[in-house]
C-alpha cells in the first residue's frame, strides 16, 4: 500500500491523467448514448461536465428539477414549467430559520427567472423526439423538455461548451436543503454498461459502479487481454465481473481470466474496485503504486504553477503561493432561486459573510487570487477577469483601480487570511449553510472521508 505524502505538489489537478503524460488535446472525452434530438439540438462535450445538450447556437441547456428546501419544495415538476417573468420582491422563508416576506437585495433591478434562464421554446407544431417532449407554459408558449423537465439556457453562457449556469459537481446538482434548488446541466447518459456510472468531481468524470458509487481502477501491469492481478493482488482488488450474456461495445470489452469468468475492460484495461476503499467515489486506491482511478474525461488543468496540498480531510487546490483556493457559493431564497455567486449579481450576500458588509474587510479576509497582467488560461473553465474591489462587481478590462483576478467557472476564486500554511482550510465551510448557500468552500480535489460538500 502506498504511503504517505503529507503534501502533494502537482502541476495540475488532473491527478489521474498525469501518469499517462498525455497532452490535453489527446485526452479522451466521454462517450455518450446517442439519443434522437429535436432539429437543431446538439451535444457539446464540455471541459468539466462532459457531454451536455446545447441549442443550435451551442448554448448549454439546463433543467430545474423539484428539490427539497428546508421548509418546502421548489423547482419544477415534470411537464410544469414555472420559471417566468415575475420579478420577485421578497424571499420565500423556505430557508430555515429565517422568515419569509423579507425584501430581496437590489429589488428594483432584480431580474426575473427568464432573464437569467431563457426558456428553450419549441415551435408550436413541434413533436416529441425520444426523451424530448413539448410542454406548455402558463403564458401559452411551448417549451422543450428532457425527460419531462423543461429546458432553459443560461444568461451566463457565452460560447459553446460553457456550463456556467450550473454544474453536475456537488451531489449531482446539489442538495436543496443546503444549497438551494440549483439548475442542472442536461445531457445524454454516459455510454457505460448498466453496472457503471459516472460521478462528477473536481478532477473530472470519475467512473464508478452504478450500485454503490465505488470507484473503478485500472492496473499498470494489465494488458487489454489479460489481468495480471495475482492471488495476493486479488485480496485487495475485486475485478468487476461482466454478466455472461454481455457483448463488447464502444470502449468496453470483456476478457476471461478463467473459463466462464468474465471481466470488463475499459479503454483497453481490465477494471476493478478497491476492497479497502472506505467511501464512495474514493481516490484511496490510487495511492497504491501502479493503480489509477478511471475518468471518462479528465478536468482541465488549473493555472500554471498552482499546486495540490494534503490535509486532514483530503487534498485542496492552492494558488502559486501555495495558499488554499476557495470558491464562493450563493443561491437566494426567492421563489425562482436565482444564484448570487457571480460578479454580475448582487454582492451584498458575499460581503455580509466575508466582511460584515465592508468590501475592504472582505478583501483582507478573503483576498482575490491575483493574476499576472499577462496571465492566460488555455481552458474555458479557468479564466482571468477584472474586478472592482470596492464593489465586488466585474469591471471593464484594465479599469482604473480594478484587480486582475483568476476565476473558475467565470467566478472569482479567493484565498483566506486565516490560512497560514499549505493545505490549511481554516475558512472551509465559512458562511451560511457551511458555505454552501452563501459562503466559501475550499476547492476540494480529493476527499478521503466522505465529507459533505453539498
Amino acid at each position: 500500500m502506498k504511503h504517505i505524502k503529507g503534501t502533494i505538489a502537482l502541476a495540475a489537478i488532473a491527478l489521474a491523467a498525469a501518469a499517462h503524460a498525455q497532452t490535453r488535446s489527446k485526452e479522451p472525452v466521454e462517450d455518450y448514448v446517442h439519443e434522437p434530438m429535436p432539429p437543431g439540438f446538439q451535444v457539446v462535450v464540455a471541459e468539466l461536465e462532459g457531454p451536455v445538450f446545447a441549442d443550435a447556437s451551442g448554448k448549454t441547456m439546463y433543467t430545474w428539477p423539484l428539490n427539497a428546501v428546508r421548509n418546502g419544495d421548489l423547482g419544477e415538476r415534470k411537464n410544469e414549467p414555472t420559471c417566468d417573468d415575475t420579478h420577485y420582491k421578497v424571499n420565500t422563508g423556505l430557508q430555515s430559520p429565517y422568515p419569509g416576506g423579507l425584501e430581496l437585495p437590489e429589488v428594483a433591478t432584480r431580474p426575473s427567472c427568464i432573464d437569467y434562464w431563457p426558456p428553450v421554446y419549441a415551435p408550436t407544431d413541434a413533436k416529441p423526439v425520444g426523451s424530448f417532449t413539448v410542454v406548455k407554459r402558463k403564458d401559452g408558449k411551448t417549451q422543450w423538455a428532457y425527460e419531462g423537465y423543461a429546458l432553459y439556457t443560461s444568461h451566463l453562457d457565452q460560447q459553446p461548451g460553457d456550463v456556467r449556469g450550473g454544474t453536475k459537481w456537488w451531489r449531482k446538482g446539489g442538495d436543496g436543503r443546503e444549497t438551494g434548488v440549483l439548475r442542472v446541466p442536461a445531457g445524454p447518459p454516459p455510454a457505460v454498461p448498466p453496472q457503471f456510472d459516472v460521478n462528477q468531481i473536481a478532477s473530472g468524470r470519475l467512473l464508478v459502479t452504478a450500485a454503490n458509487d465505488r470507484s473503478i481502477y485500472v492496473y499498470d501491469k494489465d494488458t487489454a487481454t489479460k489481468s495480471n492481478c495475482d492471488a495476493a493482488c486479488l485480496r485487495e482488488w475485486a475485478p468487476v465481473l461482466a454478466p455472461e450474456n454481455v457483448k463488447p461495445q464502444g470502449e468496453w470489452a470483456i476478457i476471461q481470466n478463467s473459463p466462464g469468468v468474465k471481466q470488463w475492460t475499459f479503454r483497453g484495461k481490465p477494471v476493478y474496485t478497491h476492497i479497502l476503499d472506505s467511501i464512495p467515489h474514493s481516490r484511496e486506491g490510487s495511492d497504491v503504486p501502479g493503480w489509477h482511478n478511471v475518468f471518462t474525461q479528465v478536468a482541465p488543468p488549473a493555472p500554471k504553477g498552482w499546486t495540490v496540498h494534503g490535509n486532514r480531510e483530503g487534498d485542496v487546490l492552492a494558488d502559486e503561493q501555495g495558499r488554499t483556493v476557495y470558491i464562493y457559493r450563493c443561491n437566494d431564497d426567492a421563489a425562482d432561486q436565482l444564484a448570487c455567486d457571480h460578479p454580475t449579481m448582487p454582492q451584498v450576500y458575499r460581503l455580509s459573510v466575508c466582511g460584515k458588509g465592508d468590501p475592504a474587510l472582505c478583501n483582507k479576509t478573503f483576498p482575490y487570487v491575483i493574476a499576472a497582467k499577462d496571465a492566460k488560461s488555455d481552458t474555458r473553465i479557468w479564466s482571468v477577469m477584472d474586478i472592482d474591489p470596492k464593489t465586488g462587481r466585474k469591471a471593464a478590462p484594465g479599469a482604473p483601480g480594478s484587480l486582475h483576478v483568476w476565476a473558475y467557472r467565470d467566478r472569482p476564486v479567493y484565498t483566506c487570511a486565516r490560512d497560514k500554511k499549505a493545505g490549511d482550510i481554516e475558512c472551509d465551510s465559512w458562511g451560511e449553510l457551511f458555505g454552501l448557500r452563501n459562503g466559501f468552500k475550499a476547492f476540494w480535489v480529493r476527499d478521503d472521508f466522505g465529507g459533505y460538500h453539498g
Binding site: 430559520p97 416576506g101 423579507l102 472506505s278 494534503g310 486532514r312 451584498v348 450576500y349 482550510i425 465559512w430
Partner: protein, 355 residues
C-alpha cells in the same frame, strides 16, 4: 442531582467481558472513543443551574433584533449571518444570554487551585475549572439526554471516520496500578465495531491514520491508580466534524481521567479550549438552521466565551482559552499500526440524518 447523560450512567460498559491478561499484550492496550459530550451538570427542570430559563436561539433572537425594525434581507438575515461570521464582544442590548449559574459542575481541577469562580463537583471535589459549562449549560442544544447538538456531535463522532479517536496505552504493567505508562492519541481509520444489536463493542480493530491524521498524534505520560488513568496535561487538537466542514478543536493542557477496564474506559477529559477555534467550529460544522434545533445563539455564546475565558492570556492579557470538560467513554480496540497487516475496512455509514 447528577445528570450525566443516561448513556453514561445506565449503560453497561460494553458488551462482553474481557480479562486484562487477554487484552494487555506486549504491555499495550488500545481504546476507541464511542461516546463524547460536554459534561453538563443539570437538574430535571433546570431551575437550579438555569434560574433565568433557557437561552433563546436564532429564531427568537431574529424577532428580538429585527421585528418591527426592518424587513430587508440585507439588514436582517444577512446582518445576523454577518454577526455569526464576525461576532462582536460589545454588550448585548436587544438580546440576552443566560449563563449557567450555581456552584456545581462536572469537570477537573485544571490549575490545581480553588478559585472564586471554580465549581465543586457533585462528589464534592473543589476547584473544578469548567467555565464552558456557563456558556453551554442553559442552551437546550447541549443539555442531556437529547439536546440536538449533543446528540448529533456524538452521532457524527460515531459514524464519520474523520472523527475517529484512539487512545493507546503502552508500557503498561497493570490496568489497576502503574505509575508510569505512555499514552498516545491517534486518529483511527475504521468504523466502530458493533454487536448484533448495533451497540458499540470492544474487540474491534482500528488502523492508525498516519497519512492525514498526523496532526492528531500526541504522546504523553500517564499513571494508573486504583484502575483510574490520569494523563499529563498536553496541548492537543482533535477532529470534530458533523461531516460538513472539517474543523477541529484545539485544547491546551488537555488531560483525561478514565476508569479503565479490559473492555473499555470511561470518565472525563478536560482542558482549556481555544475560544476562537471553538467558536468558528460552530458554524463550520452546523448551520444557523441546525443551531435553531436547540435554540443556540452563536454570537451570544461567543460574547460569553470571551468574557468567561480563564486561561492562556495573550500579549494583552486577554484570556484566549476557556476551561472545558467532556464526559467520554471508550471501547477496547486492537490498534493496528501501518507496518502491521491490513484488515478490510467496512464501508462508512452514509450520513442520513440531520440534514
Amino acid at each position: 442531582m447528577r445528570a450525566i447523560s443516561a448513556v453514561f450512567l445506565a449503560c453497561a460498559m460494553v458488551a462482553g467481558t474481557a480479562h486484562a491478561e487477554d487484552v494487555l499484550k506486549d504491555r499495550t492496550i488500545g481504546y476507541v472513543l464511542i461516546n463524547k459530550a460536554y459534561a453538563t451538570w443539570q437538574t430535571p427542570d433546570g431551575k437550579k443551574e438555569c434560574p433565568q430559563g433557557f437561552n433563546h436561539g436564532p429564531r427568537e433572537q431574529f424577532k428580538e433584533l429585527f421585528e418591527g425594525v426592518t424587513d430587508k434581507i440585507a439588514e436582517t438575515q444577512l446582518a445576523y449571518e454577518a454577526e455569526i461570521a464576525f461576532p462582536g464582544t460589545d454588550p448585548e442590548t436587544r438580546t440576552f444570554f443566560r449563563e449557567a449559574q450555581g456552584p456545581t459542575a462536572f469537570g477537573l481541577n485544571l490549575d490545581g487551585k480553588v478559585g472564586p469562580n471554580d465549581f465543586t463537583s457533585p462528589e464534592g471535589e473543589k476547584g473544578i475549572d469548567h467555565q464552558m459549562f456557563r456558556v453551554v449549560g442553559c442552551t437546550e442544544n447541549y443539555r442531556g439526554p437529547d439536546g440536538s447538538a449533543r446528540h448529533f456531535i456524538e452521532s457524527y463522532m460515531q459514524k464519520f471516520n474523520y472523527n475517529r479517536w484512539l487512545l493507546e496505552l503502552t508500557d503498561v504493567d497493570s490496568l489497576a496500578d502503574d505509575d508510569d505508562v505512555t499514552v498516545t492519541i491517534y486518529r483511527g481509520l475504521d468504523p466502530l465495531a458493533t454487536d448484533a444489536a448495533g451497540g458499540f463493542t470492544s474487540g474491534g480493530t482500528q488502523r492508525v491514520d498516519t497519512k492525514r491524521g498526523k496532526e492528531f498524534i500526541y504522546t504523553m505520560k500517564g499513571k494508573i491508580v486504583d484502575g483510574v488513568l490520569t494523563t499529563a496535561p498536553t496541548d492537543i487538537t482533535f477532529p470534530e466534524s458533523q461531516q460538513r466542514g472539517f474543523p477541529y478543536q484545539s485544547v491546551h493542557a488537555w488531560r483525561a481521567r478514565l476508569k479503565l477496564t479490559p473492555d473499555g474506559a470511561n470518565g472525563l477529559m478536560a482542558g482549556y479550549m481555544d475560544v476562537e477555534r471553538w467558536y468558528h467550529n460552530l458554524p463550520q460544522q452546523w448551520s444557523t438552521h441546525h443551531r435553531s434545533y436547540g435554540a443556540e445563539p452563536m454570537p451570544s455564546q461567543y460574547r460569553a466565551a470571551v468574557r468567561l475565558a480563564d486561561g492562556y492570556p495573550d500579549a494583552n492579557g486577554k484570556n484566549t482559552a476557556i476551561s472545558t470538560a467532556w464526559e467520554v467513554r471508550f471501547a477496547q480496540a486492537l490498534i493496528m499500526h501501518p507496518d502491521e497487516p491490513k484488515t478490510v475496512a467496512a464501508k462508512s455509514a452514509k450520513s442520513d440524518i440531520a440534514r
